[in-house]
Every structure is written in C-alpha cells, then in structure tokens.
Amino acid sequence: MSPQSDTQTSAATEGFVSVRVGSQWFGVPVLRVQDVIDQTAINRVPLAPPEVAGSLNLRGRIVTAIDLRRRLKMEPRTEVGGFMSVIVDRSGELYALLVDDIGDVLWMSSDSHEPTPVTMSANWRGLCDGLYRLEGELLLVLNIEQVLTLGGLAHVA
C-alpha cells in the first residue's frame, strides 16, 4: 500500500472498489469495504463537522455518513440523482462514504503503484496513498484512516 511497496513485491495485487467523487475516480481498499448501498435516508447531525452528512441505519447499526465531496473540498453535490455509500469499518465503528458513483472492483498490481504527485493539494495528498494509472483515468488510492480523521478540521470552525 505504501509507495515503497512497489519496489519490494512484484506479484502482489491489491483490490480497490472504484468510486467516483465529482469527476475523479478513487480507490477504496477492498478489504476495508463492508458493504455498498444505494441512496438511503440520512439523518442530520446538527453542529457536526461539515463533512459529516449525518447518520444512517444499516440493518440496525448506526453508520456515520461522511460526504466525500465535502471531505475533499469539492463542490457540493448538485444533482438530485443522488449518491451511493461505501460502508467501511474503523475499529468497530461503521462509516459510510458518500460518493457519486461506484464502479468495478479493480485488482491492481502493486508494481504499477505510484506515489501521489507532490504538486497535488496538501489536503488531497493527506487523504491519498498514491495512485494507479488506468486507461484514460487515474485512480487515487484513498487512505481511509485519514479520510475518517476529522479531528483537525472539526475544530477549525
């Protein structure tokens, strides 16, 4: 997963659930993904950090929804068409990453893993663990831990 790993292992492949946020495709490590669900009712959490879209009920478990557009400081979602959620687990807690679209699970050889360009915005670089080149697209690997760490941002306001 780390940028250095490509030099050490050659045959290993890693799976990513490809998700689209805005026009950019991101990869969520498949091992972290618990579930993928369609648009669902989300209950707002007043005074929560802006990235927190609210809470939703996934089969009796409370899942905190993180709007990736907000997390990535992108334009708020405009299309009424909606969103989908990738449910990931962090130490027993479930989080839903709200994305615009969900693509295939891609199996990438770690050989082709590349570090994130240093010129990318600091925010994005902090949230990504390198990238993979696809045909005509770039797949940025999301660092789930970082994505779910809102601490620093929560207190800015």
Binding site: A41, V45, P46, L47, S55, N57, G60, E93, A154
Partner: protein, 1008 residues
C-alpha cells in the same frame, strides 16, 4: 483437549473468584464445616482436573494447598492467619498459572517449591508433629525404586483416577456390608482417606499398615478383620472401569496387602504429599476419639439420626458417582456463553425490535390487515425475547464484590486493623457493562474506608467502640436503579478540617464556606483539586481519588451522595441505572428533526401559549418563562442547534423542563411525541467532541436520532454560568475557581447602594411582582412550590414604594432545600473580579468591599442574609426538612412532639403535613379544651404552637393553658396570620413568640 483446557480455565477462574471471599470468611469462622468443605472441594477439583490434563505445576501447588485445607477441615490444624495467607498465596499462584495457561495454552515454567514449603510448614506448624519431612534421606530402605512407583501411579492414571475410584466405591462402603462402619462418615473425608491411602501405596510411600490406619480413623468401631481386603476388592473392581490397566491394579493391590515388607520399611515413610502417615499414628487414636464425640460422623451412637441423614446424603452422591449423568445434570443448570455471542444476540434482538416496530406501524395504518393477529403475537414474543436477552446480560453484583473480602483482609493485616466486612444484597443483579464500570470505584471506596475511614483497634477502644471496625456493603434495587451503600463505622469525615483545607486550597471563598453546612463541606472530598493532593489525605483522612469515583459513577448516569458523622462513620450511597443500553426517552421534534431526551432528567412538559396564559418572555433577547412562581431560563433548541426554522404553528410552544444537578431550565421544542424505550448506541468517534449528544438510537421507523445530553446543553448554553453557580452552591462541587477570579453579581438595593455577591452563591434570580409578596407574622415571604421562602431586604416598618405592575428581581440563595430571597432594586451586571478588598470587620451584613468599574461596591454577607431570613419562627421550624440528610448531623427530630392548637383548617391542611415532613410528631387540637383533654391524658409535647384569630382569643388560650400544669415548661409559640398593614397589632403575639420560642430555638439553631 483444547476445549477441555479452556473449560477448565473458565471453571477455575470462576471458582477462584469466589474462593478469596470464602477463605477470608473461613478465617473468621473456622468452625463452619460447609465453608471449608466447599473450599476444599474446589481446590480438590482443580487438583484433580490438573492431574487429568497433565498440568503438573498446577497440580502440585493445588495438592499442597489441599493438604493444608484437609487438615483444617479435619480439625488437625488450627486455622491461623499465616496458614490462610499461604493458601491465599496459593490461590494467587493458581490464578497466575491459569491466566498464563489461558494466554499461552501451556503452563509456564517456574518453581513453586518456596510456596509448597510454606504450605508444608503451615501443615506441620500448628497441626501434626514436625516429623513429616519429605526428605529422601528418611527413606533409605525404599524397596521399590522411586522411578517404578512413579510409573505405577502414572500407569494407574494418576491421583485423579484413584480419587475417582474411591468416589465410585463410596456408596458400597457406606452400605450395610461394612456393618454400618462408614454409614455416618462424611463422604468427602472418607474419599480423601481412601485416596490418600491408595496414592501413598501407589507412590510407594505407604502400605497396608498405613492403609489400615487410615481406615481405622474413619471406621466406626475400629477395623474389623477383612475390612481392608473388602475395600480393596471394591477398588479393584472400580479401577478397571476407569481404564486403569489390570497389571497396575494388581501391583497396587499387592502393595496394599503384602504386609511384611511394607510395614517394616515404611515405618518412617516420607509423607510425600499424603496427609496422614506413620508419624501421625500416635495421633490417630486421638482422632478416632474426636470423631466419636463429634455427633455428626459418629452416627453409630445415634442410629435414628443416621437413618434420617443417610438417604438424603446418599441421594446426591448417587448422581455424582455416575459421572456422565452427574455432568449432564450440571449442564442443564448453566452453560457458559461467551460475552461476544451475548452482545451479538443483543444486537440482533435490537434489530428485531426495530423490525417489529416498523411492522406495528404499518398495522396502525391498516388495522384490518389479515396480519394483525400474528403481528400482535410477534410483538409480544419480541418483547419477551428482548427482555430475556436483557436478563442474560444481568449479573449479580457479587461479581464486582468478589475480590473485596480479600482486599479488606490483606489491607487490614497490613495496617494492623480489625475489620468486619458485611455484604448485603449480593444477589442484586445489574447489567454486566455497569458491573464492570463500578468495580473500580467500589474497590477504591473500600480501600479508602479501610485505610482512612476506620481507626486502629486502640483508637477504637479509646473511643468506646468495638475493636473491630465494620465496613458495610449493601446493594438493592430501587425503582429502576441500583442503590449501593458503602458504609463504615470509623472516624467519619472531620468537617472542620475539610473546611480549613478547602479554604486554604482556594476552591471556595471564606464567605461561601461560612454559609455552608457541614454536609456541604464534606462534599468537597468529591472536588478534583481536593482529592489528589497527598497532604489532604493526611488532613481530611479521606478523599483520595473520590473525584475519580464520582466522575466514573456520573459517567454511567449515576450519582453519589455521602453522609458522615464525626466519630460515627461515613456512608456513601451510590445510585446507578440498571442498564445503560435501554433507557426511557422522550422523543421530541424541532425543525423537522427528531431527538431523544433521557426521561430521567425531564422534570415536566409545559405548553406555552397565549391560551394557557403562559407565554415566553424575553429579557434582553433571552427567553424566559414564568412557571408557577419562578422564572425558568429557556434554551431554544432550534437556535442552539443552528437548525433552520421551519414555519410551524407558533401559537403553541412545547417546553421540556429539564434538570441537571440542581439547575432547572427549559428547552423550547416544536413537538413532543411519546416516551419510548430506546436502545442507546454510542456516538461515532468523529462526533464525540459534541458534548450535547450522549448517544444515538434507531427509532421504529428506522431513522437514526440523537440523544441529547442535558448536561452538555446546560454547559454549552449561556445559562451555563448560572447553572454552574447553582450547581456549585448546591453540590459544593466547586472547582471552577481554580484561580481567584470569580463571577460577581452586582446589584442595586432599594436604597440605591451598589452591592455585590459572588454569582456562585446565588442559586437563581427571579422576578417577582408586588402581589406575590406575602406577609406572614410580620415577615415577607413568597411561595415557591408549596413552600415559603423568606424575603429579606425589605424593612417591615417601611411602606413599599413599589408600583403594582413593577417587577423586581429577587436573588435566591439556596441551601439544601431551603432558600432565602434577597429583594433588590435591580441587577446591574455580572463582572469577573478578583480584587476583593477586605476592609476588616465591616458593618453587619457586609463582608468587605471591592472596586468594580471604579466604584466601591459592598460585598454582602450571605450568612447575614441567611440569619435575617431564618429568624422567622415558622421557617425556622420547617428548616430541617429532608430529615434523612439533616438528621445525621442535626438533631433527633423524631422525639420532637408538637402540639398545634388551631381552630382553622389551615393547620390540618398546611402546617401539619409540613411539620410532619420535617420530621416532627404533630398533634392538632382545635381549641384550648381539646388541648387540655390531651393534657389530661398525660401527653407531653416539646413545643406548643398556637394560633388564634385575635388578641383576646390568644389571651384566653394562654389563660386556659395555665391549667395545664405539666406543660408549664413547654415552650409556647404563637402563629400570627394577620394580613399586611395590621402589623402593629402583632406586637403582642410577636413578643410572645420571641419569648416562648427562645427555649426551643437553641437546639434548632444547631440544625440550621
């Protein structure tokens, strides 16, 4: 095998948990045979199972302990603290070994010889003569080489197999075949006797002579010829059933029957770990004698008794002797379930409950549905299931207590104190999550009680108390909560020292602390700054970490209170909810969002509308509500949560009145739904910094809603300062004044002077109208929640320049449940100030002055306000309300009998219940003749309160009571009820009160 080991670990841990307590109990009651029997059996089981599982280290240790316990049980060894300590140490070692076994799957290597030596010392020390050395040197003529004997016992299947074989033949032994020789014997002892004999033989350390001697100790009427042989035959029958190889059985029998070689060479035989060997031979007859005088085993002398006892005794062992059946019976009783699967079950059930709720909701829409009947049934079954699963999570509180007896014992030994620990209500059940969370606070409090609360025996004797201190632990259910009490009869909390300490550490001002009662002052031990400092421990003698205890208890929605009396002891009362996962909550809506509010903190619901005559008023943009006779600060949930206002019907507003500590405030919401039992789930980590949510839950329709935390809200709102002030003065939890700056309330009195008081001392500010002010007996009061609050700041003789419509602020100072109001002209400001200039002894009513915004401002003396408010007799009497709290350090009220002479219904309706509630015995007489009738009956009262409509009537009454000679020394007090403006007429009655009440006043003053 793995499963067996893990079962063994779980079982052993469970057993050990109980063992500490039982051993400590045993040390005190060595005569209790049931107790030692239980302990012995547990260690014995551990030993046996270890042998079976090949855990040699555990087995060796357990065996050594078992020998000592066996000696205790047989009365061969006096129960000494040292021996018990050695056993407790063994328990620790076993626990450590079992833990290691659980962690690594194998016994850790190690040497226990030191412990075993201590145990053997203990075994020799007080009981058997110290010849029983297991030195190999004592065995020079050992016929079979040790390697072989080892092999024999191993070939037989170890101690466990031999033990089992003995168990199997117990019934036969007690049968008539043996002439009733063993019929009355204790089965455990019989089994141990046989097993030790067999083991000794199998190890080569004992032979037939030894075996016979052992039988002799048990057999009624001595060993008859052929008896050992017949027993051995039984053993020979039993062993093959336990898969002991026939060759090994034969070899064993050979050793036990071959008299000559064994008898000779084994005379100074090493005991190995066997209990009674040759050196004890001299002792054996004595033991036999002892048995004979002991009524229970010596049943031969009392055939009738044994006949009754035997069937009952035999009944249980029948099952036990048949292993598989016995086990099956046990399995039916309890099974072990991992906590994880319970938690999972709980989650699934919660989910089921949600689905059920959803289905029920559809049913509401379509009551004619064909599914109605099965759905209702589903509803019912689901509820039952939920309840059932909840119950499985409940555990008796003894789980949290199990370690305490041991702790107390060890601490007491270290500190040289004698302590009786009594535990009541161990079976009280509560949620295991709560159980885990209270373990540490409880341990801490017990440690405190032992360390600081109780005195040394010498001190206790000097104080005229029994040398042994008492620590009392009690638990009980009380209305959906668990109440745990931790009490001691030690030295109590010295209020004066705490007072001084609190003052010195600057967490409270001199003015505040003077106004505080001892009970309030004692609560400082819960203040953070107070408890951590080591020197405080030395001074107050109590309180290390009490803030942590309090915090932990409050974290789980509990509360802790304390009462203490110097020299008499201290008692903490902890109230905690039964469970944390399911709470009753009020579902409310605000701006289209729903929230849950914990029902426990909701005081009432108020609807504010023009129609109801109550409406929200605004003071400088702050919403308040006049609720009955008080002003309720309001928080708009919409504004507070930053929700977008939706256009709802503004004609009516719902206000949820909530109480946090002693601070009561209202929350404006749009709608109030129902009360629901909700399953509390934790708030996500990314939201945890929001203090206003205590959790989240899923409603019946599947939506996720947040549970509001009133405490968080009160802290976050502007009301927080006042709230903090109120809570501080009430709970004395003040820790806010870490520096010397304090919020000062500046106000103007009716004469125009600027005065100030620390905000923390003011419990609330109310606005009152002229019409609310009433006069009772020449003093001004207002009614508040059915009680009278005296109002000071108005001179009775001065006419009030107060417009009917004008409202004035009343600063209310509260203490316990009493309060006094100070009427002021206006509240000027709240300032932060530290510049308190003490001008020395100022005039009465002032503590000193301080400069606020360049203006000298007098700091009022709250104690003076209290005094002037409390002079009033009636308030004085009702003052010691809340008898439970006050009675401790106050005054025994129960024996205070009051006689009220009053023709009006007022007494019956108002006065009598009020005084009764305050703890007095009240008798009401309608007039003087009724009172005289009571006098004739011989009734004696502590105080007579009389009310009469006018002066002549009063005089007549007093005249009449002259005849009541026995009452001449009884204080007499008048109750004036004249209306305002007629105060001049009061002079007579008032002076009467002054004079008559002074006698009764003094004791009451102590209470105030």
């Amino acid at each position: 095998m793995d499963e067996l080991v893990s079962d063994f670990i779980a079982e052993t841990r469970e057993g050990l948990e109980a063992l500490d307590g039982e051993l400590v109990h045993f040390e005190r009651h060595p005569e209790d045979p049931a107790l030692i029997g239980g302990i012995f059996r547990l260690i014995h089981t551990i030993k046996g199972t270890c042998g079976f599982l090949g855990l040699t280290r555990l087995q060796t240790v357990a065996h050594a302990a078992e020998n000592v316990l066996g000696a205790f049980r047989d009365g061969e060894l006096a129960v000494t603290p040292n021996a018990v300590s050695a056993i407790l140490e063994t328990v620790d070692v076993i626990r450590a070994l079992v833990d290691a076994l659980g962690a690594e799957g194998a016994e850790p290597p190690g040497d226990d010889s030191g412990l075993i030596a201590r145990l053997e010392d203990a075994l020799r020390g007080d009981g058997a003569p110290a010849v029983e050395t297991p030195t190999p040197a004592a065995e020079p003529v050992a016929a079979p080489p040790p390697a072989d004997t080892r092999a024999l016992i191993d070939r037989l299947g170890g101690d466990a197999t031999l033990d089992a074989s003995c168990e199997m033949i117990l019934d036969d032994l007690q049968d008539q075949a043996f002439g009733g020789a063993f019929a009355g014997s204790d089965r455990d002892r019989l089994q141990a006797m046989l097993r030790d004999g067999l083991c000794a033989a199998a190890r080569g350390s004992g032979g037939s002579a030894d075996f016979e001697r052992r039988i002799a100790t048990m057999a009624e009427g001595g060993v008859t010829a052929g008896m050992p042989r017949r027993i051995l035959d039984l053993v020979a029958d039993a062993l093959p059933k336990l898969e002991a190889p026939p060759s090994a059985v034969d070899e064993l029998l050979e050793r036990l029957t071959a008299r000559e070689p064994i008898q000779d060479s084994r005379a100074p035989a090493p005991a190995d770990r066997a209990l009674a060997t040759d050196p004890i031979a001299d002792v054996a007859p004595a033991m036999v004698f002892e048995m004979a005088v002991e009524p229970m085993p010596a049943s031969g002398a009392r055939p009738a008794a044994s006949a009754v006892a035997t069937p009952a005794e035999a009944a249980a062992p029948v099952a036990a002797s048949d292993r598989p059946e016995g086990d099956a019976a046990n399995v039916n009783q309890t099974i072990r379930v991992s906590v994880d699967s319970l938690e999972h079950l709980m989650t699934v059930v919660s989910e089921l409950v949600l689905i059920r709720n959803q289905l029920i909701q559809t049913l509401r829409l379509d009551p004619e549905s064909p599914f109605a009947a099965p759905l209702n049934r589903l509803n019912q079954v689901t509820s039952e299931l939920q309840e059932g699963v909840m119950t499985t999570r409940m555990q008796p509180i003894s789980g949290a207590w199990a370690k305490l007896p041991r702790l107390v014992r060890d601490l007491a030994r270290d500190l040289g104190k004698q302590i009786d620990l009594s535990m009541v209500g161990q079976e009280t059940e509560l949620d295991r999550q709560v159980l885990e969370l209270i373990k540490d606070p409880l341990t801490h409090m017990i440690r405190n009680a032992v360390d600081h609360g109780l005195e040394t025996p010498e001190e206790r004797r000097a104080a005229g108390k029994p040398a042994a201190g008492r620590i009392m632990l009690a638990a009980r259910h009380e209305g959906g909560a668990i109440v745990i009490e931790v009490g001691d009869d030690g030295r109590g909390l010295p209020a004066a020292k705490i007072r001084a300490k609190a003052l010195a550490s600057g967490i409270v001002s001199a003015a505040d602390i003077e106004a505080m009662s001892d009970a309030d002052v004692r609560r400082f031990i819960f203040a953070p700054g107070f408890s951590t400092a080591a020197q405080v421990t030395a001074v107050s003698g109590r309180g290390v970490g009490m803030d942590v205890v309090r915090t932990n208890i409050e974290k789980i929605g509990g509360a802790i209170e304390l009462s203490s009396e110097e020299g008499q002891g201290t008692r903490f009362t902890i109230r905690i909810p039964l469970t944390l996962t399911i709470v009753s909550a009020l579902i409310i809506e605000c701006c289209g969002e729903r929230f849950a509010m914990p029902q426990s903190s909701v005081v009432e619901l108020v609807s504010a509308s023009d129609a109801s005559g109550r409406s929200i008023e605004y003071i400088d943009g702050t919403a308040v509500l006049r609720l009955r006779d008080r002003l309720l600060p309001l928080v708009s949930l919409q504004a507070f949560l930053g929700l977008e206002a939706t256009q709802t019907s503004a004609s009516e507003t719902c206000i949820v009145v909530a109480r946090v500590g002693s601070f009561t405030f209202g929350i404006i919401v749009d709608r109030v739904f129902d009360t629901e039992e909700i399953v509390v789930k934790p708030v996500s980590t990314v939201l945890r910094h929001l203090k206003l949510y205590s959790g989240a839950t899923i409603l019946g329709d599947g939506s996720v809603i947040l549970i509001l935390d009133f405490k968080g809200i009160s802290v976050e709102t502007g009301a927080a300062q006042v709230a903090a002030g109120a809570m501080q003065s009430d709970e004395a939890a003040a820790a806010v004044h870490s520096d010397n700056r304090a919020a000062i309330l500046v106000f103007r009195t009716s004469d125009g002077a600027l005065k100030a008081t620390p905000l923390a001392t003011v419990s609330r500010i109310e606005e009152i109208g002229r019409e609310q002010l009433e006069t009772v007996d020449g003093r001004h009061v207002i009614q508040y929640r059915g009680r009278l609050t005296p109002v000071v700041g108005i001179k009775p003789d001065q006419p009030l320049a107060w417009e009917e419509t004008e409202r004035r602020p009343l600063l209310v100072f509260a203490r316990e449940d009493r309060s006094v109001g100070l009427l002021v002209q206006e509240v000027v400001d709240i300032v932060e100030s530290s510049a308190i200039l003490d001008l020395g002894p100022a005039r009465a009513g002032a503590l000193g002055s301080l400069i606020i915004d360049g203006v000298a401002t007098e700091l009022i003396d709250i104690a003076h306000v209290w005094r002037s408010g409390m002079i009033e007799p009636e308030v004085e009497i009702s003052a010691p309300a809340a008898p439970a709290a006050a009675a401790v350090d106050a005054y025994p009220l129960g024996d205070k009998r009051l006689l009220i002479i009053d023709p009006s219904r007022f007494s019956q309706l108002m006065l009598e219940p009020m005084l009764r509630k305050a703890g007095y015995q009240v008798t009401v007489a309608a007039d003087a003749s009724a009172a005289l009738a009571l006098h004739a009956r011989g009734d004696i009262f502590s105080l007579i309160l009389a009310d009469s409509p006018d002066k002549p009537a009063t005089r007549n009454l007093v005249q009449a009571l002259r005849h009541a000679t026995n009452w001449h020394r009884t204080p007499f007090m008048g109750l004036g009820r004249e209306s305002l403006g007629q105060s001049s007429e009061l002079a007579d009655v008032a002076s009467l009160i002054q004079a008559a009440s002074s006698a009764f006043h003094e004791p009451l003053r102590g209470a105030a």
